[in-house]
């Protein structure tokens, strides 16, 4: 946009050398930047077109009060974790039962995310506050997260990380005390 203005004011300057503002001409760039344009790359105070604003304008429009859309959005939030579960199942299946870095990373991620979500329940409730089924949706959300963590625990169990068998508690068994004292041997 600088070029027509530049031509316009170029036409101006050839006329009189003095940049006089014409009454009805629109200057889209300031004249004093022409000479310095090549020295500074984009320091030009480019004039924006009419109606363009640099800063984002806050949306001061009235909130959508369509009940259906609100409900739909809240349900989306509530069912989010449940939708993650099939994907997690697939990831689990792919990573296998050996203990190496990739499965451990996947399991940790799968375990941590529901726990983090459960810990920030209050933020979620704030998101859901506009619907009138918010308690039900909250419940569904937490159930979904619990199912996610149960899935992570099941994965740990199938990798053999949980101390469910007696061999895991073997190290804590103390040797039994002797009740009788015994000695002797072959007759010397």
């Amino acid at each position: 946009m600088a070029s027509p203005g530049g031509q316009g004011s170029g036409a101006l300057s050839t006329r009189g050398g003095v940049a006089r503002r014409m009454k009805w001409a629109l200057e889209l760039s300031l004249g004093n930047t022409r000479g310095r344009g090549d020295r500074q790359s984009n320091q030009g105070d480019v004039m924006y077109p009419i109606g363009y604003s640099d800063k984002p304008v806050p949306d001061t429009s009235i909130q959508e009060t369509d009940k259906n859309l609100v409900e739909k959005r809240c349900w989306d939030v509530a069912l989010g974790p449940l939708k993650q579960i099939p994907m997690n199942l697939f990831i689990m299946y792919m990573s296998g039962n050996t203990i190496s870095i990739f499965p451990i990373m996947m399991v940790c991620m799968m375990a941590w995310r529901p726990i983090q979500a459960l810990m920030s329940m209050s933020a979620t409730f704030k998101l859901l506050e506009n619907s009138n089924q918010q308690w039900l949706q909250g419940l569904v959300y937490s159930v979904g997260n619990l199912l996610g963590s149960a899935l992570a625990i099941y994965k740990c169990q199938s990798m053999g990380l949980l101390p469910t068998h007696s061999s895991d508690w073997l190290a804590f068994i103390e040797p039994p005390q002797r009740v009788e004292i015994m000695g002797g041997g072959m007759v010397l």
Binding site: G160, H165, S166, S167, D168, L170, A171, I173, E174, P175, P176, Q177, R178, V179, E180, I181, M182, G183, G184, G185, M186, V187, L188
Partner: protein, 824 residues
């Protein structure tokens, strides 16, 4: 030492074959001492002053050459044990009257060997003609033979006249052409028969009345006074070597053999040049005792041993102990600095009793050895130097010894105490010798009177006020004497008398009997197991070592369940051999008997097997080795006992409350060589895997991992057994030479191996004794708890510092660059 050079040559050859020990570690953690035994004959090398060699022949059928300057061995020949190898006289070394051998004196090589006709040997002598010795005459009971000295061939053999009435005793050659034989008819007359050198014809015979024994010219009449070791015995035999010195006076050197089998070499003015303790060739039993703590260590132990009494006092205690440690460290630094300034020669690096104290990892211990001659030795386990000796008078030749450690060095103000029970086999009476194992001095403690013969002894964990364990002595009326018998101990004994049991095994009658103690210290018989002596004879009974600690109570299976071990501390392994030794009918019996109830937990009979049986009983397993007469090979068999998948009672073990018998798993393997002795390694906490130290007759000790002797080894491998790391079953047990723990230091006639735990969990101290004594350290699971020997502290710390500084510098440089860029 002259023996070092050929040894080194052999070692460098072997070092490319075996990888068990690094070259620079040879001799660092292990040592070997070689002995010859009680000297029967000795002779000096040459009749001049400068002779360096001394030849001895001993009662252990050994012929050796000693360096007369230092007492070290030049070479040694170990012959067969038993009467075939016995040495009769030492001139040129005839043996048993059957073999005549000539040895080269420098190297110990055999020049020739001649088999003589059998006949009881009487005497032998060199026969010379005018200064040259060319023949050897050997006198037997009925014949005399003359042999050439160069090759041993017989020149002539003649029967002695009237050899059934006349006892011929000596043969002599005067340098002429004749050989004189002296014979004696008891209580009647002497005869001298003269044989001609050429062909053995009898030249003349002279008889005469019996002369009184008094002859010989005495050339030298001196008395020698020399210092005798106060802890040694009286002199028994003297071997005098007299020679003419340069200034024409007579000089002498004397080799004294004392009652305690020690050899002392004395030079002219009564000066002792060297001493050899040959009693150590016959070690009966030994124990290893921890060294005492230093003053600071003892204080620290004392401080932290007491009960905690609050937060602030504990903090103050900690601070004060740190101050003490700091002081000790600065004193140590100062001493190091001071010693480094002194010239090298003045720094003495000897080990003396006064400077002994426990080192950081408790790897240096005091070995207390009891020998068959009745002499006690205290030997430092790190260097092998003898620190103290003590000779017990009046010990009969076939006495039985039992060495018990009653108090260790862990209880600081009280000195450690060891008790030696010496039982005379003929009279059955026993004596106790109580001594301090660190200094060897006899303890001033009142001993109980033992009027009756003693059958056995047992050590109780009942502790006196001064921390000494109580020793019970059982006499032949089955009454018990307690030692020490203070009031405190007697009170404790009376309280726990009903839970003290002991067993006695009589192998002549084939009975095992179990007794229980009553409050008045008499005992009642509660069980008896009789194994009839017509069929089998009880050979050995072994319980478990009381200091053994089992780390895990079960084995983890492949499906993550647990198979619990049957850990019965009262279990005895009884081994019997059949009286019928025919290869088809011989058998070996193994009985596992509970010592408290007498219940036979398991019995196994190995048919067509024969002893000598060597076995080890430890934890929940028994490993035994026998000779299979049908397949004519040596076999190993292992028995393991398991309780099952559930523990009956996990808190308390009582033999009286065990209704279920354990499951027994057994497997056998073929071993390529006979063995002389066997022992298992032992560590403090039992975490390290166990190895069996097997002594082979070639003089090597094999460290066999117990993993190979596992009855669960599968024949068909499946996934579970791979989980458990079980080696698939193969009937042959390989001997891998890298498992030998004594690289080229063979030990002749190995009799026993003793293992002791050290302060480090990975290390076990091993002492093997027989004719030689060898000490080393064994690492069954490699050294998992120490940094390696040649850890490169310098390199790692310098790299660390360099990287640290590089990081700091580059961080600073990066900051500077960023700042400069921001200012452009």
């Amino acid at each position: 030492m002259a023996k070092l050079v050929p040894l080194l040559a052999v070692f460098f050859y072997l070092v490319c074959v075996s990888e068990a020990v690094f070259e620079d570690q040879v001799g660092k953690f292990d040592w070997r001492r070689q002995y010859v035994g009680k000297v029967l004959f000795a002779s000096f090398d040459s009749p001049s002053q400068s002779s360096k060699k001394l030849f001895v022949a001993t009662d252990k059928n050994i012929f050796a050459s000693l360096n007369s300057r230092t007492g070290d061995l030049f070479w040694r020949h170990v012959d067969k044990m038993g009467p075939e190898g016995a040495v009769d006289t030492l001139l040129v070394n005839a043996q048993d009257g059957r073999l005549l051998r000539s040895w080269d004196t420098n190297v110990g090589g055999l020049n020739w060997e001649v088999v003589l006709d059998t006949g009881s040997f009487q005497a032998a002598c060199f026969v010379g003609i005018q200064d040259t010795v060319k023949h050897v005459a050997v006198l037997k009971k009925t014949a005399i033979s003359l042999h050439y000295l160069s090759n041993g061939h017989q020149k002539w053999v003649e029967n002695l006249p009237d050899s059934d009435t006349v006892k011929y005793q000596a043969v002599y050659s005067g340098g002429g052409e004749e050989v004189f034989v002296l014979g004696m008819v008891p209580h009647s007359h002497l005869t001298i028969t003269v044989y001609s050198l050429e062909d053995g014809e009898i030249i003349r015979q002279v008889t005469g009345p019996q002369l009184s024994a008094d002859s010989g010219r005495r050339l030298l009449d001196t008395t020698v006074i020399f210092p005798l070791d106060a802890n040694g015995g009286k002199p028994q035999k003297l071997y005098v070597h007299a020679f003419l010195k340069k200034d024409d006076s007579v000089g002498y050197r004397v080799l004294v053999q004392t009652e305690d089998h020690a050899l002392t070499f004395i030079q002219q003015p009564g000066r002792v040049v060297w001493t050899r303790e040959e009693a150590l060739a016959d070690v009966v039993t030994m124990e290893m005792v921890d060294l005492p703590l230093t003053g600071t260590q003892a204080e620290l132990e004392g401080e932290f041993g007491k009960k905690a009494d609050g937060l602030l006092p504990m903090v103050m205690k900690r601070l004060s102990s740190q101050v003490i440690l700091l002081q000790a460290w600065m004193a140590h630094l100062w001493k190091l600095f001071y010693e480094a300034r002194k010239p090298r020669s003045q720094i003495k690096n000897e080990v003396t009793i006064e400077t002994l104290s426990r080192d950081e990892f408790n790897l240096q211990k005091m070995m207390v050895m009891v020998t068959a001659s009745g002499k006690l030795f205290g030997i430092d386990s790190k260097s092998g130097t003898i620190l103290w000796k003590h000779y017990l008078e009046n010990v009969q030749p076939n006495a039985a010894f039992k060495l018990i450690v009653q108090r260790t060095t862990a209880h600081f103000p009280h000195p450690p105490q060891c008790t030696l029970l010496i039982k005379d086999k003929d009279t059955g009476l026993a004596t106790l010798h109580v001594f301090n194992p660190i200094f060897g001095r006899k303890s001033q403690i009142s001993l109980p009177a033992l009027p009756r013969p003693i059958l056995q002894s047992l050590l109780l964990p009942v502790i006196d006020q001064d921390y000494a364990k109580c020793l019970l002595l059982v006499d032949d009326q089955y009454k018990v004497t307690a030692f020490p018998s203070t009031k405190n101990v007697m009170q404790q004994l009376q309280e726990m008398a009903s839970s003290i049991f002991f067993y006695l095994v009589d192998s002549e009658q084939g009975t095992l009997s179990g007794f229980r103690l009553r409050k008045d210290l008499s005992s009642e018989l509660i069980w008896e197991v009789v194994l009839p002596t017509e069929v089998q004879k009880i050979v050995a009974v072994k319980g478990k070592r009381p200091s053994e600690h089992v780390h895990s109570q079960g084995r983890v299976m492949g499906d993550r369940s647990v198979l619990y071990k049957y850990l019965n501390p009262n279990l005895l392994a009884v081994v019997t051999e059949s009286t019928d030794t025919h290869p088809e009918r011989a058998f070996v019996g193994m009985f596992l008997v509970d010592g408290v109830t007498g219940r036979i937990i398991h019995e196994a009979v190995q048919r067509k097997a024969r002893g000598p049986i060597h076995f080890v009983h430890s934890e929940n397993w028994v490993v035994y080795e026998y000779w299979n007469t049908k397949s004519r090979r040596n076999e190993f068999s292992v028995l393991e006992l398991f309780e099952g998948t559930e523990l009956y009672n996990s808190t308390v073990f009582s033999s009286l409350d065990r209704p279920h018998l354990p499951q027994v798993l057994q497997q056998s393997y073929i071993f390529p060589s006979p063995i002389t002795t066997m022992e298992a390694t032992l560590t403090e906490k039992g975490i390290t895997s166990r190895h069996l130290l097997v002594g082979l007759p070639s003089g090597a000790i094999l460290s066999l991992p117990k993993m190979f002797l596992d009855p669960r080894r599968p024949e068909v491998v499946n996934e579970h057994s791979r989980e458990e790391n079980l080696i698939p079953y193969a009937p042959e047990m390989p001997i891998r030479t890298e498992w030998f723990i004594n690289y080229n230091q063979t030990i002749s006639r190995l009799k026993g191996i003793y293992t002791a735990p050290s302060g480090l969990e990975s290390t076990c101290l091993v002492v093997a004794y027989g004719l030689d004594i060898y000490q080393t350290r064994v690492y069954p699971s490699k050294q998992f708890d120490v940094l390696k020997d040649d850890y490169d502290y310098v390199l790692i710390s310098s790299v660390l510092f360099a990287l640290f500084f590089a990081t700091m510098i580059s961080k600073r440089l990066a900051e500077v660059k960023l700042l400069n860029r921001a200012w452009r």
